[in-house]
Symmetry: C2
DNA sequence: CTCGCAAACTGACATTTGTCACCAGTAGTG
DNA sequence: CACTACTGGTGACAAATGTCAGTTTGCGAG
């Protein structure tokens, strides 16, 4: 019997998923969580075999860790627990981050329930599984061309703040900020930072 | 027995929901759809009592109709079929649009399964239901302050295009575009069009 | 060590954008 | 009718932004 932890902030989806997975003879849901923090607490207490984590969980302000953050912690704290990320909008960058965090499976929510159950079994027995379509996108998308600083600044620029505010928040001079944004824009083939931010976001780079 | 149509592009969620709702004695899922077009075809053929529609369905380019569009068509074609919108991110503006389209229920996916089942029963017996939290947001958010044209132009500006491109796509002079964006920005309390677009989007105004 | 290189950073310059004042036509309303 | 709001437009000015040439720093290869 494979013991599961389910983490998703949408109660409706999570309980529905729990019901569905419980119908499988060899699967049982031992814990559920609606946030990253809750997920960790539950995992420590129940020690599940597989953690099924939603990529974006919290409605918290910002910087809060999502499914990938949870997986990262679980890998060190509970090495026997395999992590599986499930997500609505799969961005290539997220897939890379997830794999780097030791996640063993990555699925979009468009897959069928049978696939999910199969993947849970696969990763429980030590295997890995990544949705083929997402994998193809990730490969064709290539690596993140942005430097660390460029990505930082672009992220701060993403919500439309003026340069001066970005400069303050990044502790840089406005001129430097402009340069980073300019070079990021050049790399991404855009003529302004807002479009650049949009592109970077769709690739999961920020 | 209440006969249901389920429409959601995420197969996993949709089948899970179908399983969950089928467990209720008085509910039965007679049709499922993964897109707006499919949902309409299914509705015409199966004539369900209640249509449970996801707000954003298609991964299609743009302009494709989502759950609200389906509800609008259903109201005229199948007046006996009640529509219920379920959504991950509920924006105040969407709620208003939905109610204007004759939708009888509006729920975020954070509600529990029992609430969903109850709401289905409520709207099937002629009632209405709107998530209290969303309703409060919609009221406090107030009406869309933008004129039709301002909203149009702001929408075109939303993906970061430069003014000249917006002007071309809207068939306006660049100066006029700047004027509209400026006044939209003033109404929304922002200092640039990109932040304005972001605000308008969170309110569901564009 | 030093050469090369890339990232981090700055300031100057040109373009884009936001703002404002103003004009004209059209439609709806008391 | 007068009044108001929305649409579409022009031109000018100031501020924000994008672009570029160039300096500094740190680090690995030779």
């Amino acid at each position: 019997m494979i013991r599961l932890l389910l983490a998703d902030d949408e109660n409706l989806i999570r309980t529905a998923l729990a019901t569905l997975l419980s119908l499988e003879d060899d699967l049982t849901v031992v814990a559920q969580a609606a946030s990253a923090g809750e997920a960790l607490a539950m995992a420590r207490h129940h020690r599940p075999d597989v953690a099924v984590l939603d990529l974006q969980m919290p409605s918290l302000p910002t910087g809060a860790l999502g499914g990938i953050g949870v997986a990262e912690v679980l890998r060190t704290e509970l090495p026997d627990c395999a992590s599986l990320i499930v997500t609505g909008h799969g961005r290539p960058g997220h897939l890379k981050q997830a794999l780097a965090a030791g996640v063993r499976g990555f699925l979009p929510k468009t897959v069928s329930a049978e696939v999910l159950a199969d993947v849970i079994r696969t990763i429980h027995s030590g295997g890995r599984y990544v949705d083929p379509e997402l994998a193809a996108e990730a490969i064709s998308a290539g690596d993140n061309p942005l430097t660390a600083r460029e990505a930082d600044v672009l992220e701060l620029a993403a919500d439309g703040a003026p340069i001066d505010e970005i400069a303050q928040r990044a502790a840089l001079s406005p001129g430097t900020v402009r340069n980073y944004l300019s070079s990021a824009g050049a790399k991404l083939g855009t003529s302004n930072r807002h479009e650049a931010a949009r592109i970077a976001r769709t690739h999961g780079w920020i």
